[in-house]
Amino acid sequence: MSTENGRKENGRERIGVYVCHCGTNIAGVVDVKEVARWSKEQLGHRGVVIARDDKFMCSSLGQELIEHDIKKEGLTRVVVAACSPHLHEKTFRTACSRAGLNPYLCELTSIREQVSWVTSDKKVATEKSKAMISGAVERVRYHEPLDPLKVPINESTLIVGGGIAGIQSALEIANAGHPVYIVEREPSIGGHMAQFDKTFPTLDCAACILTPRMSEVGTHPNIHMLTWSEVEQVDGYVGNFTVTIRQKARYINTDDCTGCGICVEKCPKKVIDSEFEVGIGYRKAVYTPFAQAVPKYPVIDDENCIYFEKGTCKACEKFCPTNAIDFEQEDELITLEVGNIVLATGFDLFDARRIPQYGYGRLANVFTSLEFERMANAAGPTEGAIVMRDGHTVPESVGIVHCVGSRDRNYNNYCSSICCMQSLKFAHLVSERTGAQVYNFYIDIRTPGKDFDEFYQRVLEEETLFVRGKVAEVTDATRLPGEEGKLIVQVEDTLAGKQRRIPVDMVILSAGLEPRRDADDVARQFGISCSSAGWFTEKHPKLDPVATMTEGVFIAGCVSGPKDIPASVAQGSAAAARVVSYIEQGELSLEPVRASIEEAMCSGCRICNDLCPYNAIDFDEQLMVSEINSALCQGCGTCVAACPAGAISGTGFSDAQVLAQIEGLLMLNLEEPAVMAEPV
Amino acid sequence: MTERIAIDPITRLEGHGKIEIFLDDDGNVANTYFQIPELRGFEQFCVGRPVEEMPVLTNRICGVCPEAHHMAAAKAADAVYKVDPPPTAKKLRELLYSAFYVTDHTTHFYALGGPDFIMGPDAPVAERNILGVIHKVGLEIGGKVIQARKYGHTVIEIIGGRKVHPCTSIPGGQTRGINEEERAEIEKMGRWSVDFAQFSLDIFADIVLGNQEYLDLILGDIYSHRMHYIGLVDENNLVNFYDGLVSVVDPNGKRLGKYAPDEYGDWIAERVEAWTYLKFPYLKQVGWKGFVGGEDSGVYSATPLSRLNAADGMATPLAQEHYERFFETLGGKPVHQQLATHWARLIELLYAAERWVELATDLEITGDDFHTVPTETPTEGVGIVEAPRGTLTHHYWTDERGVLTKVNLIVGTTNNYAPISMSIKKAAESLITSGTVVTEGLLNMVEMAFRSYDPCFGCATHSLPGQMPLEVKITDAQGETVETLRQYC
């Protein structure tokens, strides 16, 4: 067989071929002895010096056989014809390295899954096995010894997002004794959980369980908090990321500020708090989002601050006992070197305005779940009083609409998973605090979690009414007597099978969870991917739910989909465990199946530049050549196949290997030329 | 009776020939066959290609005159899109083309055809080449010849992008223009070339015209054929290489008419003979009467001589002077003595050089409007230029995407296939008779008959590559091969 232009042969190899019986799994259909005999005879001139068959090649005896031959017969290549590489490639590679042969000089061809198990005719199966061995032999001739790629792991970790998932990760890693940076967009960590009143199903108050964790983060020696900050840029790869962070101007010198709160008190400018209080409460222009905020330092909201508007006021500055106010402060760019990154940026609440027929934003007494959380929260604007928009009237009847924006092909197909329990929690709180009649409008009640269904039963017993059906409309257009001044919930009761109009004083929309509006940008920034819905994609949805396709970038909490608090916390810990295990290893060894560019051959045409989903390919403007960062490369080989100059080569799956395997499979390498049209 | 005749292969022409000479019982020439032994099939495999590629595809028909094909193809492509390139583009093309003519005619005169005269037909073969010429005329001439070729190729590279196989002509114009710096350089080289052309004419004057023996040779009957002539002329019926109408005159010099490119089909037809791969074009209206000359035979030639015969004069002053002297000296139009073609070629050389300077000094030549985007749906078009070795016709048909569906090419030397065959036969007849002692020089005259046409079978065999091994095979009446002389060049 001619070695084609550009395919250098690795000289004369000594190849051992091992045909496995796999009990009768293979031997029952394939004439393994014949296959072995044939390999020696027909492929001898291709370097096959030994061809053996064995009952179970994967058994210790089988492996020893290979090791023995490598040592005694000086084999330079090994071909095993047995089961799928996904089962035993590692087994045989390990056997080779035990015998001192580089593991990557071993090729496993699957004559069980691909031949004996799928073919009935013995003759045909035997012939196909020969072809596959012939292919493997040709291929293995072009294998090269490879060594795993080692990269050092920087001990520091970056956590993006200071919600409960991020907090959990940060504490786990910090407690393991490793430095952590936690970046939070808002002035304080805490995330959505800080806004909640009670948490289902146990009904313990969110603040009571969250704030201790927050302050622990605030005071932890291994944790460095960067609140009021956002990630600008991410470079590098697993173990060696360089992250640039923009710390927005707080106009408060945090070294001097004691968090006494006098500035907030003295600030003359009152602003509707559309962030923490979701628009139902007020804050000052200088503020801390909530009492237990961590860190305690306030921020000056330069869009509303009178000084920034008119150039006068400075009340805060006048009264600040430590002269911590600094109107000249500017955004600061901070560069961090970290080894791993955990993304815990959470979710956005579905905007109920998008479903106009539910009247939110139009009908005063239609509330969103988060508005209700704040209202029910003792620290909230109504100090826990559940009242209508007027601020004092206590509702006599309340309708809670489930699945708002969820399980709805017009908005989101997925189930937001927390709405059922959240709604039941609302129902309980309403009836507990107001005695009002509560209606739950649901599609299905889903209570799979621990103690969830018990909580459901409890709410049922509280004589809350459940109407099964998707609410068509919430309106103030009254038609029937008794509807005056009320909100009418128009719904098809699918159990009773009839349309119903239910008048209530207040409606709570149990809005679903959505990916952050900027999820796509964040994903791109960190080189990971989003599902069509916009949630970050796990490396494996079941077996690796907190890892991503990009080594060293992990995800926790609602970034990968709606979750309740326990699940988010669990993921926070899981991600932390993954990070710590990397750190503990000190360096990471990566599969050596990688692409690389021969600089002299690269023309700088830039065809390959946009092909790598892991951004492993860079263009060097000076040298005018493209370069591959082998630590980022995942070895898919797309750029290898795309390079018009043939300047990119891929270890493990080189052109030479594949072309040789094609010739082998087509039996072009036999002593006498193959007869193509005969039954294989 | 097998008379052995030693004959050297015909050399020094771009391409090769295969000549069959049959003798009768008396050992006289019964018939001769001049065969073209190869075929490439451009007309077939250009089909399916996008029309804008034709200028670079048909380049490869001939590496000796790729510029001619590049131009003809570009003009045919313009016609296919009914697009008229901006003046700057047309002038750039003609400028490149004029420079090309200078190199090409120079090469032929000094390296191929000229030696016959400069050294004399009787000179030893070894001396009848460019080196002999240099020895006889002096070393500096060699330098000049190389310089002339170099300059021509430089211009071709500046405008056409490459020395061989230019690439810048596209449907609607050119891919780029030239700047003032380049223009100035081109002008400089052009002026040098005008001097060189005159210098060459002087050499011809004193070596050839000054030598009665050569003059008799030229005016003698051996190399004379009364036939039709065609050549491209401008609106004033003056010789033009790049554009115009094709003028057709009969053996009496009477103009039968002028045809536009898209009318070529009414004037030209091609005949197929089983013994050669190359076709024989002839004047359709006059008809094919075999390998004979005269008013009633459609055989015509398209050479420098033909062009002078078919035109009313030259478009540049110096060349015009020589044009007049040419016909005075040779006894008025039309001139049928084929060897005069060498002289005609030098007059064209001068014209090309003068035109080169004219265009290089044209104000529009450095313009930046060198391409018009075609808007019409492409259909069919013909492009004609005057190649050094004959009128070159490219005819394309395309689909609505501008992809070729049919291609017809009538290429330079092909036009002269029949005349060349006739000249060879005539020369053979007059040189090979029973009892003739054939000497080297005498036989070289067969080659001279051949060479005056400057046949380029790279082109002619556009239906096949530039290679044409010459083989002269002499067979007697009994079918015995008297002698086979081969030359694989």
Partner: protein
């Protein structure tokens, strides 16, 4: 070696256009080195020579032969064998000999189709459907012309080749360089490259020598050059939508065509180490076509009106498939 001790040099043209000879003549001064270091025993375009002289030579008597032109007919093939037999080093010179060049596009058609097209052409009067015959009985006797082979083949398809010099034609400075190398080898100052090497080319592709600015490639549509309002003189032609073969074509030509505003058409053939030039260009282009929607992709691909002709314009005869298979549609 000859009496004067100089190694013998020959250059021969088979199915070629003559451009290679012109390119060699264009090395100007360097041609004198050839004259000084070799005895030119056979170079039809430049000197008198007799075929029988070559036949008379000892095997391997010629040290170096530059063979240009493809193998189109029986005669070309015969000459290829003769030159191989008589030469120590046989170099496939130029695109025709190395990869088939433009005439290789004939491999998209059958001989019958070629004959039909040529000898029943629009301006051809041939009512009796006369076709050239390889043997013809004339009144005076039988005359022959060489047989036309079914496909055009490259030199390496018929004989063993020592080195390859691609290009249509090879750039004169590359030719001069190669000749320089051979001379220094003769003087023991250099080693010959490994047999079978492609010489007189760069390591990379045309883009490597192309001065045009280029960015990340994303192709939304292909544009025919004549459709461009204005060809940007500085921007990568491919990024202007023009199908430029530069990325998949061996460097060495100084990127002449792209510099002149014309797309590279691939005359230097595949880069060293690449099996199939067309395949590499296809894979590169397809990779950067900016769409995931099959319908849109088809529309974009419609912009390539002649894939086989564009990707294999020069290397058809040397591609993996070498020639199209006769069938109802076309060949």
């Amino acid at each position: 070696m000859t009496e004067n001790g100089k190694p013998k040099f020959a250059m021969y043209w088979a199915a070629s256009c003559g451009g290679c000879e012109i390119a060699v003549l264009n090395i100007h001064e360097a041609i004198l080195d050839v004259d000084a270091n070799f005895e030119i025993v056979f170079w039809p375009v430049a000197m008198d020579a007799k075929y029988k002289d070559v036949e008379a030579m000892e095997d391997g008597e010629i040290f170096l032969t530059l063979f240009n032109g493809g193998i189109r007919n029986a005669e070309n093939e015969h000459l290829a064998h003769l030159m191989r037999q008589k030469s120590q080093l046989l170099i496939a010179f130029g695109s025709c000999a190395t990869e088939g060049c433009i005439p290789g596009l004939a491999n998209l058609s059958t001989s019958e189709q070629i004959f039909e097209t040529v000898y029943q052409g629009p301006s051809t009067e041939n009512d009796d459907s006369v076709r050239p015959q390889y043997m013809t009985q004339m009144p005076e006797g039988i005359i022959e012309i060489p047989i036309f082979c079914p496909t055009l083949r490259t030199l390496q398809d018929v004989v063993d080749v020592d080195y390859y010099i691609p290009g249509c034609p090879p750039e004169s400075h590359q030719i001069a360089a190669v000749i320089g190398l051979v001379i220094s080898v003769l003087n023991g100052e250099a080693e010959l490259p490994p047999k079978g090497s492609t010489i007189g080319v760069g390591d990379s592709t045309v883009c490597d020598e192309c001065p045009r600015e280029r960015d990340v490639k994303r192709i939304k549509q292909f544009t025919r050059i004549q459709e461009l309002e204005q060809i940007d003189p500085d921007l990568c032609l491919l990024e202007q939508g023009i199908l430029c073969m530069g990325p998949a074509t061996a460097s060495g030509c100084d990127s002449r065509c792209p510099i002149a505003g014309a797309p590279c058409i691939g005359c230097y053939g595949p880069p060293v180490g690449v099996l199939d030039q067309g395949a590499r260009m296809m894979t590169a282009l397809a990779s950067v076509i900016d769409s995931r929607d099959p319908e849109e992709i088809e529309t974009i691909l419609d912009g390539i009106v002649d894939p086989a002709g564009s990707f294999y314009k020069f290397s058809m005869a040397h591609s993996l498939l070498k020639a199209a298979r006769p069938s109802e549609n076309g060949r």
